[in-house]
């Protein structure tokens, strides 16, 4: 994973845009060689070049590394997901496909490759009455939007492809396009299932956009910045020398993290919120009329979206690329980032393996009647937390207690209200 601050703008590229992207790369004095490995590798490749070219090549390298990294992650993730699902379900999962033309199985590591070949060689079917242009554009747009979101993620110390002042805003602005693409897919297919799925996708994405955005407002409030590196910076340091200052370890941060992850599940159309492609109801939802490579693109975009949202959650709440304990800092930052990312992705898979699916009205109700109020209350909690940041001693305990109550109280009350009509039952016997 790597790379690259875009270096200072060149005379040849006069647009201010690129200037604003640059922030000088300063390697901290204590950075180990391992830590700086990606930068060193990049400089090895490009340092000889004259300035405008160097800048372009650096950017290109960053893009390529991010794209390849996530493409490989995507391939691995499909396999890991199937393996984990399999293990949860008491079966080994795909373990046959290894190296082609050999008997080596390698625990099924060749499966993504085989899937890819299959997808590429399948016939691309477009329904006759479909809106052909939109039908084609939808997967492309979806993938493009999800790739765009990778631009501002800090993958490690000094490893952020584009340093934007309003990075978080950019992230969600780019992500907002995905719902459009899903709608295009559903509408252009001219299939009733697809159309229903498109409507569902719209309702779902609109509903969950709000708690998603609201949930990280406290983080921005606390960090005082919209830039992703700034947020990571705000989570530096350790309390008592071993408890990291991650946002998730505060009452409001934990609540926000949960809200964020639930909304992220919904935004990336993952179970239990996979209503747009609910296979037991709508065949494959908006993907019903897609086959071959276009289908693979959708699949890829879904996983990219999942990765991007998880990475954002890592950045916002889990301290980004920071090590959890001081002495673990010898492990390079990008490794920590990857570990945290994998942990969250595993959570996605685990949840998928466990839960049944919600219904669309329950889904929207959950968003509007539970998550949004919770996020708003959480905003208040964060404000309280921020106002009381200089309480100490017993007051510190009181601060924790009040903040916890502010989070847990509404959760219990609203949770009870939400599940008012549902309860386990006891049965009588004749």
């Amino acid at each position: 994973m790597t790379l690259v601050q875009l270096s200072r703008v060149t005379p040849g590229v006069s647009d201010w845009f690129f200037q604003s992207l640059s922030s000088p790369f300063i390697a901290a004095a204590g950075d180990s060689r391992l830590e700086r490995l990606p930068i060193i590798a990049r400089d090895l490749l490009t340092s000889r070049l004259p300035e405008p070219w160097r800048w372009w090549l650096n950017s290109l390298l960053a893009i390529l590394v991010v794209l390849f990294g996530f493409a490989i992650l995507f391939a691995l993730l499909t396999l890991v997901e199937r393996k984990v699902l399999g293990r949860v379900q008491n079966r080994p999962g795909p373990n046959r496909t290894g190296l082609p033309f050999t008997k080596l199985r390698l625990f099924g590591l060749g499966q993504p490759l085989a899937d890819g070949i299959k997808m590429l060689t399948k016939e691309d079917i477009v329904p006759r009455s479909a809106d052909k242009l939109l039908h084609f554009l939808a997967p492309v747009a979806l993938l493009a939007f999800s790739i765009l979101t990778f631009a501002v993620l800090p993958f490690g110390r000094n490893l952020v492809p584009v340093e934007l002042d309003a990075g978080i805003l950019y992230f969600f602005a780019a992500g907002a396009g995905t719902e459009l693409a899903v709608f295009m897919a559903g509408w252009a297919s001219r299939n009733k299932y697809s159309l229903l799925a498109a409507m569902r996708a719209l309702a779902q994405l609109i509903s969950y956009e709000l708690p998603l955005l609201l949930s990280f407002v406290p983080v921005i409030m606390m960090a005082g910045t919209l830039s992703t590196t700034g947020v990571v910076e705000a989570q530096a340091g350790w309390k008592f020398g071993f408890i990291p200052h991650w946002h998730v370890l505060t009452p409001w941060g934990f609540a926000a993290f949960v809200i964020f992850m639930v909304s992220a599940l919904a935004e990336s159309n993952r179970s239990p919120f996979d209503l747009p492609e609910a296979e037991s109801e709508l065949i494959a939802g908006h993907l019903t009329e897609y086959s071959g490579f276009k289908y693979a693109l959708f699949f890829m975009a879904e996983y990219f979206g999942m990765c991007a949202l998880s990475a954002m959650a890592v950045t916002l709440f889990l301290g980004g690329w920071r090590a959890p304990l001081p002495f673990l800092e010898i492990v390079p930052s990008y490794v920590w980032f990857a570990l945290k990312l994998f942990a969250l992705l595993f959570g996605f898979i685990w949840i998928r393996a466990t839960f049944p699916r919600l219904r669309i009205d329950q889904l929207t109700r959950f968003a509007w009647k539970f998550l949004v109020p919770m996020a708003l209350i959480n905003l208040g909690t964060a404000a309280f937390w921020s106002l009381t940041c200089n309480w100490s001693g017993p007051l510190q305990l009181a601060r924790w207690a009040i903040a916890l109550a502010l989070v847990a109280g509404p959760f219990v009350v609203m949770g009870r209200k939400l599940s008012r009509d549902y309860a386990p039952r006891t049965y009588r016997y004749a």
Binding site: M199, A278, S280, D361, R425
Partner: protein, 409 residues
């Protein structure tokens, strides 16, 4: 009668129709009086007709539902079946009595043992054929194992329909495999057992087999506990199933619903108790009843029935006598019952499975008729689905527990 027969309108506001063309009406198809908004056809834009099936992931085979949707709310649902029709009853009239036995395996292919029993019971009634006691016990053991198998499958399928990514289904199938292994060891086939004979059964159970079956029955509660921990308390499942697909009691009775569906509606009717066929009166077991008649009740009743089945199995293993498994007077070849008619029914896992036979004294039955529980239970599908969303229709169908082999015959 505590259930008020009102199916409330809910669902997404997605493609809501106007006030003007819609009206509250009593659906003629819902004698319970389900209030459903009917939308006049002049307003085409608002209604969407979706043909679910026969090729659809969750119609449990080749079943088709033509659903008319208002947004996602079902305003009309027409079940279409017969894609798997294969003249079962006519074939039965053209084969010998014994020759129909393997065909009954194919009715409800999850419960071949109970189908066999019901058919054997009908023929035994027709021919006045006694059955040895050991066989009666074996039949009870196999029927209860079948009930475990069927209800386990149903729990898995239902959860799959609600969108769980295979996990409950796989756990259910893990246990089902064990029962199927037992069936295979006894009858030679996992699903198409063809085990019962008129006046007995085909193979005796060895002590090893009985030991294995006992072990399974003893371990089954553990599996049920795990399964319930996985899913029964799950808020999503409760939200999805409670209050969904309510079947009022009098509708259930008047539509001839039987089995767990009927008991989930709160009607105490279990043929094992009512008829007391076989040696069931000797066992001590309870019949769980639901109060709401919704999908959750139908699911839970089955789970509770499984626990009762385990009790029956334990008692049966303890009481199992030794002795012959075939009545010495029973005939395999040249079986020609004297003219007459008989209806044999048992409490199958899905409901009352019955066979009606008329003999004219020949080698083939003159009339051969099946009372398939899942077909008759399916008739109330529309009444249960109206006013619910399309996602609910899928789980309501799942909770009815149909097997198309039996519905279409």
């Amino acid at each position: 009668m505590t259930n008020s027969p009102i199916v409330a309108l809910h669902g997404t506001p997605a493609v809501a129709g106007g006030n003007a063309p819609s009206e509250i009406c009593h659906s003629p198809l819902a004698p319970g009086g389900a209030h459903v908004r009917s939308v006049r056809d002049e307003f085409h834009g608002d209604l969407l007709e979706v043909s679910m099936g026969p090729h659809h992931p969750s119609t449990h085979g080749v079943f088709r539902m033509i659903a008319t949707l208002d947004g996602e709310t079902i305003v009309k649902l027409k079940p279409v079946f017969g894609y798997l029709h294969r003249n079962h009853e006519k074939i039965g009239e053209n084969t010998t009595y014994l020759g129909s036995m393997p065909y009954t395996d194919r009715l409800d292919y999850l419960c071949s043992m109970t189908n066999n029993w019901a058919y054997a019971l009908a023929v035994e009634k027709l021919a006045g054929q006694p059955v040895p006691e050991r066989t009666e016990y074996l039949r009870v053991i196999l029927a209860e194992l079948t009930r475990l198998l069927n209800h386990t499958c149903l729990a898995g399928f239902l959860l799959q329909d609600t969108g769980a990514s295979g996990t409950p289904l796989m756990y259910a199938f893990r246990e089902r495999e064990k029962i199927l292994d037992l069936f295979e060891a006894l009858s030679g086939s996992r699903m198409m057992c063809n085990y019962q004979r008129f006046g007995g059964c085909r193979v005796d159970a060895s002590p090893e087999w009985l030991e294995a079956a006992k072990r399974l029955a003893d371990g089954y509660n553990e599996f049920l506990d795990e399964y319930e921990a996985l899913i029964t308390g799950n808020e999503i499942l409760m939200a999805r199933t409670q209050g969904v697909g309510v079947m009022p009691r009098q509708l259930a009775v008047s539509a001839g619903i039987t089995g767990p569906m009927l008991r989930a509606a709160g009607v105490d009717y279990d043929i094992r108790k009512v008829d007391g066929y076989g040696v069931y009166p000797r066992f001590n077991f309870r019949v769980p009843l639901g109060d709401h008649g919704d999908t959750y009740d139908r699911y839970m009743i089955r789970v509770l029935e499984m626990r009762e089945s385990i009790e029956i199995l334990r008692q049966a293993f303890a009481q199992l006598p030794s002795g012959p498994i075939m009545d010495p007077k029973a005939k395999i070849r040249g079986f020609k019952p004297k003219p007459g008619e008989a209806y044999g029914r048992i409490e199958g896992p899905k409901g009352e499975i019955g066979f009606y036979l008329i003999s004219d004294g020949g080698a083939n039955p003159y009339r051969y008729r099946v009372r398939p529980p899942s077909f008759i239970n399916l008739t109330v599908l529309e009444d249960m689905c109206l006013g619910h969303s399309i996602a609910d229709a899928v789980i309501i169908l799942g909770s009815i527990d149909i097997v198309l082999g039996e519905v279409d015959r």
